[in-house]
Subunit: 238 residues, 2 copies
DNA sequence: TAGTGGTCTAGACCACTTT
DNA sequence: AAGTGGTCTAGACCACTAA
């Protein structure tokens, strides 16, 4: 995968931070020391540190050094592009996926707009309910352009769609635009989720793009409001 | 500030993209051409392009070039660390701030935990209602460590707290952790907001840190659910 | 094959913090 | 004064895309 030196260094330091080998608030070795430790140029060290800083692992302070942040230990990280499967593995066992619908459809007007496609284009429609501790908490509705990604089965959907797309199909996901809003619960929400009396759901709309800038997937994640939590790490650069 | 070459180039290209001088999906000049245009080294050009990519302005494709993304034109950008004042200026006139409370308080247990301080520490408590089109839509509750930032007046709060903190006090905000959840509306919410029948609010908790890693501000933004929208741009790098 | 972005190097000077 | 991170340079080689 990642043979570049700076990514190896990045991953190595991430691991050390997560194992608390570098403790919160501790000072990392200086750039000079890291150069010697990994036997690379300063620029390569700096590339690794830049990524650590951007992902919220460290804070660099001019004249002082790089320090480990502890705010990155999120109990329920949903930020970035993490998938339910990745999330589940961080949360331990008690999660489960139920595939409710899996079919190829012609897009209606709404979907044509979301995916910026014509009515001729075929789309995979995948609806999954997510159980946490035996309660249906999240309803995931995925719409995927058939001409870009095809061959979905119930097994794949029960496992991880992303894993299939990235590892089996070899497609490279580049970025996503995410939108969070609150909507009144629909009949579909009430049918598939244990809403526990709530009449609204938190809707996370996700527009996923490939490396060549094509939009190929639109996802709606509909959450029971009391179980929803979104965490974001933001750096301020004007 | 903005004396560094790569930031000047970055800002210049941002401006050109926002003015559509570089149109959506168009190809930017190559790194070689940009080197000549700005008379800098390739590394300096690449630093500018890296920031453009990370902020969702462009997509770089190996062997092809850098292309302008159009998804960055958010009608209601709340991502990152943008403040209400900045937001308002993007939305035009029809917004208004009402300062409901402004006082120095001793932190209660909850606040001691949020700001990681002792009960001796004094804290500025600032409560503001935000009107959009004459409806009270957002309730901002700011808690700021007095020993770090002091001297708040009604005028400052009506204008922009961030502007005061950054430009007048000269403090440098470095990063923030943001948390979005949905809560049942409190009596305070009902008193200060036009909730229009809704019995929940979207709560955005914001923990703001300075460059020296000190946590100095905790903010709760409480939104009427139907008027809330959060947009995020996320790049996937494993 | 020519052009593009991705990685890596070695060296320089600066501004800031600490001693 | 010594150490730290921030910026900038010039040059090299690679992998990918296009003609």
């Amino acid at each position: 995968m990642e043979n570049s030196k700076y990514l190896i260094i990045y991953n190595d330091i991430v691991e050390k931070i997560e194992k608390a080998e570098y403790e919160p608030n501790a000072k990392l070795p200086s750039e000079n020391e890291l150069m010697q430790m990994y036997d690379v140029s300063r620029d390569t060290v700096r590339k690794a540190l830049l990524r650590l800083e951007q992902n919220g692992y460290i804070q660099k302070i001019k004249g002082k050094g790089s320090f480990v942040l502890d705010i990155n230990k999120f109990d329920f990280q949903v930020s970035g592009l993490i998938s339910f499967k990745e999330l589940a593995s961080k949360m331990g066992g008690s999660v489960q996926t139920i595939v409710e619908e899996l079919e190829v459809v012609k897009p209606d007007k709404y979907l044509q707009k979301q995916l910026q496609i014509s009515e001729q284009d075929e789309v995979w429609k995948i609806v999954r309910a997510r159980k946490i501790k035996d309660k249906r908490i999240i309803l995931d509705k995925d719409f995927i352009l058939k001409r870009v990604a095809d061959g979905f089965t119930k097994e794949i959907c029960q496992n991880s769609i992303y894993e299939y797309i990235e590892n089996v199909l070899g497609l490279k996901i580049s970025f996503a635009k995410k939108e969070i809003v609150v909507k009144n619960a629909t009949d579909e929400d009430k049918r598939y989720l244990d809403l526990d009396g709530y009449d609204v759901v938190v809707v996370v709309k996700n527009y996923v793009y490939l490396e060549d800038m094509t939009l190929f997937q639109y996802t709606e994640s509909r959450h029971r409001p009391d179980k929803f939590k979104f965490i974001d790490f933001a750096r301020r650069h004007k």
